[in-house]
Amino acid sequence: MKGKFFTRRDFLKAAAVTPLAGVLGSGLKVTAADETANKSRVVLIRDENALVSFKKPNPEVIQQMLDQAVTALLDVSDPVAAWKKLVKPEDIVGIKSNVWRYLPTTEEVEGALKKRIMDAGVAEKNIGIDDRGVRRNPIFQKATAIINARPARTHHWSGIGGCIKNQIMFVPRPADYHGDSCADMATLWKEFNLVERTKLNVLLMLSPQFHSVGPHGYADRYVWQYKGIIVSPDPVAADSVGLRIILAKRLEHFGKDEPLETPAKHVQIAETRHGLGISDPSRIELIQLGWKEDILI
């Protein structure tokens, strides 16, 4: 057992000095080196017509939203030109999806991503879409580029399920990363060579889930039609923005500051302990596009 423990008293001491210090859960401090690091850019795009029905995306609108988001992210006017900055024709590309039956990535989103990857010159035979089978999938075994796309939701054991967590299926035994509420989940990105290979993170906020109940962690009433998509090369920044929106929705819904059942500390720790990306909102350049009503951020 390590010599120095982090206890509730440490929260109390931190809170006595700075009232919000304990909110995110780890109490870890950003180092001086981190303070000077560059900002991460995140694009949040929303469209009132993104869904044709409850949780069902409109494929044409999704394509437009992704195009606008990626061009804004990369400062390129043409979507195909933007995608050519992400993938090369010779790349083998895995679209890391999510098949959770209550909130999957959806074939509409997968299709829109695949189309632009092909437009960028990648042969269809070199593009794979998978979630739980990535370790056995030849495309993913050889992938030189990964597009990481999944819906945002609260999660019973890690606080939120976002882009950081979505790569856990690359791990032989995902449960090995469940300790301390998945605090050190970011390590798998380095251990499985995902940091450089993941070219884009797409956190779907079309129908995000803001509260989990029961063994399956799902109920329709805790999903709302936000009709947004977050994109960033930085999975931590993408999750940080998604988390803020989910927390704001919880505040709105419950009428009080209702903490997540499990603090989503893995997002902050992904920055402070593992340097995977940036979670600190002050160092995230957030570009907001499209529909603004009830944006919550």
Partner: protein, 279 residues
């Protein structure tokens, strides 16, 4: 993991083959602590933390109605079944089994060593009725009841908030309900029993934590480690005013460790410690 037909049947017979027109939509499935993540994602850790043995899952479907997922967890002991039931306190008692709660499309209860969760993909009047019908059927089939964990009987009744008792033997579960420390400083394991309850005082609440150890030596060891780790500034005392102006106290009675967190005053902390009695 393989199961004999007898083991499979033991769980299968708990669930009806048909209810209000809902019938099994696919083959039943059984999961163990290694395979549970194939079925219920990360929340599987909760059931593993309570030592579950097997999960029997039946998926019901009915034309024009939402699918229903019936999950029967064999938790090994009634204490574990009670513990996992107390993990998620949301919902209203619907009078089934030894404890139940329903909220919208979700109904769960425990009885004997089983925890049963019933979930409809959408909430309709018919699906709610079907959940209740399945629950009553399982409740009838399970004839035996099981005892509550001993430690729960040690919790004082006065000013205790109804429905806010949590039973566990895993420090991650304790932290889920009330964060104490990132490491297992209280030495919780499968040989211990932990109970956390919340007490009302004026407009606020504060928690009382009880942990029953297998012997007095283990209890003293955990107490000393807690004092050194959590309140090293307490000196020879087992009571301290923390940075939020509230009081934390820890005391041992035989093989029981009693900790009051965030009591509003020294007197209230002392009073609550004194109310805990071994039976």
């Amino acid at each position: 993991m393989c199961y004999s037909n007898e083991e499979r049947d033991e769980l299968a017979v708990l669930l009806p083959e048909e209810v209000n027109g809902w019938r099994p939509a696919e083959d039943d499935r059984i999961f163990d602590p290694e395979t549970i993540f194939d079925y219920i994602d990360g929340a599987g850790e909760v059931y593993r933390a309570f030592g579950f043995r097997r999960l029997f899952a039946r998926h019901f479907a009915k034309s024009g109605q939402p699918d229903i997922y019936a999950d029967v967890f064999d938790m090994g002991t009634s204490a574990n079944a009670f513990g996992v039931f107390t993990h998620d306190p949301e919902g209203k008692d619907v009078g089934i089994g030894q404890g139940s709660k329903g909220q919208g499309s979700l109904l769960s209860f425990w009885k004997d060593r089983y925890f049963i969760s019933l979930f409809a993909e959408e909430e309709t009047e018919e699906s709610k009725q079907a959940l209740m019908a399945i629950a009553h059927e399982v409740d009838r089939t399970l004839e035996r009841t099981g005892p509550l964990p001993l430690i729960v009987s040690y919790l004082p009744d006065e000013n205790r908030i109804e429905g806010r008792i949590h039973y566990f033997f895993n420090h991650l579960i304790l932290n889920f309900h009330y964060f104490v420390a990132d490491e297992n400083i209280l030495f919780l394991d499968e040989n211990t029993q932990g109970a956390l309850a919340f007490y009302r005082w004026a407009d606020s609440t504060y928690p009382l934590l009880l942990i029953l150890y297998p012997d007095v030596a283990k209890t003293s060891e955990a107490h000393d480690n807690f004092i050194q780790t959590y309140m090293p500034d307490a000196g020879a005392s087992d009571l301290i005013q923390t940075e939020n102006g509230k009081w934390t106290a820890a005391r041992v009675k035989k093989n029981l460790l009693i900790i009051v967190f965030d009591a509003p005053s020294r007197e209230e902390a002392e009073k609550k410690l004194g109310e805990v009695r071994l039976k």
